[in-house]
Symmetry: C2
Subunit: 284 residues, 2 copies
Amino acid sequence: MHRRLAPLSVNTATLGFKQPLPVVVEALARRSVQGIAPWRREFQDTPVKEARRIIADAGLQVTSLCRGSYLTFASDHQRRAILEDNRRAIDEAAAMGAPTLCMVVGGLPEGVRDLAQARDQVAEQLAALVPHARAHQVRLSVEPLHPMYAADRSCISTLAQALDICDRIGPDLGVMIDAYHLWWDPEFAAGLARAGQDRLLGWQICDWRAVTRDLLQDRGMIGDGVIDLKRMHRDMLEAGWRGMIEVEIFSGLDWDHRPMDETLDVLCARFADLALPAEPVSTF
Amino acid sequence: MHRRLAPLSVNTATLGFKQPLPVVVEALARRSVQGIAPWRREFQDTPVKEARRIIADAGLQVTSLCRGSYLTFASDHQRRAILEDNRRAIDEAAAMGAPTLCMVVGGLPEGVRDLAQARDQVAEQLAALVPHARAHQVRLSVEPLHPMYAADRSCISTLAQALDICDRIGPDLGVMIDAYHLWWDPEFAAGLARAGQDRLLGWQICDWRAVTRDLLQDRGMIGDGVIDLKRMHRDMLEAGWRGMIEVEIFSGLDWDHRPMDETLDVLCARFADLALPAEPVSTF
């Protein structure tokens, strides 16, 4: 039986930003990786138009641009600066031809303990960004982050919360699904079904190391942890996802210290082992 | 206006097990702390009957016994050993006159990635323990743990999941509410309302340090973090809670290295500052 496999995209954070973007692109193309998700910081060395050309010339597709800056704020001055920076991020996503700008929404503002207030700020800020995003045909993907980041990175912790915000703001928004953040959630499949195909804007994977040594910098290489990626991918397919799978690993404790080529070789081999299908597989 | 304040209980893990139980009890009584939650390991030095007598003589009440052993298993042999140990834990809770035995249910068994399977094991094991618990008039409190422990400590991550298990097994079960595990959950108040007074078996607090340096050993002293304890306590009161507030801090990175008396002095002062009421406060 021959089954078409889901295509692979690599988020450049996985490679620790040790090499400039053109070198990364060449390394991906050499391994027949089909997609890339760059980070905005890389445009400091490789201007966005050049980045787009290099990626297209290598035959790669951009799966997302990482990422908007935190939306929560402690002052009106900060609120305006945040909007300004995120409008620039939208411009960059448009200039890259990225299908979505990934939004990590921010945690509690300084001195605030009220998560509901922070969540209201996020909704308000996203609403304020919608006209600019629409004008540039960029969809904003709200990414629920693991609850362990609720204080400092994202007051949106569950898929249900992210979808509540999408419902409130409208169809310019969708969600970024990351296995690392949602693998524990018993409502995962139900949330995807609620999202529906049109609001699923990205699908990121890595693994959860059973013994996790750091809250941020110890994500596991796929296969090195306990996440049931096959189950989660099946749920994604059943909800209508037909895009690439983006591998995003933050690993200041391990992989960042290895040569880029080693990380990529292991990543590609593990991804091939997983053999995740491109479409739902009938069991009959 | 004079408002009756909620009474304080101290979970002995907060004091790092540096002193034997009788010394801890004396230190608590000297500060007019009203409750204590011992750990089973302390019965190795202070037999359970002696522990009960010392605590009662000091005028303290036991708020919970910590804790049952992990319920998930990788073999039938392990499953039986787990039940045996938890029946001993129930015996000890009964011997202590503890109103509840706290159950931390365990994560994924070795080699298993299927959280649903682990959760089914938990329900099966709890059902198997019910007759023994009922015979000894001990209620088992299922404690949802923060999702960052889903792999290694608790496949039950949300209050809703814990209540689903209570619904399935029956009224011998209830839930242990810990602010550290649930502070991020947007469904917290709704979950408490669903639980109802009779199933709320314990109320533990500490704080979440905005920059958390370790997944297990960096809980914050109350007041040193971002948890809105007043809001959570108000939700508890509205759901019918009228018991003590148990302070439980695991802090191998900080407080465990300080003298017991220093930890207790700070804890009591911070608790007094919080001034959490014993009953719902009318806003009129």
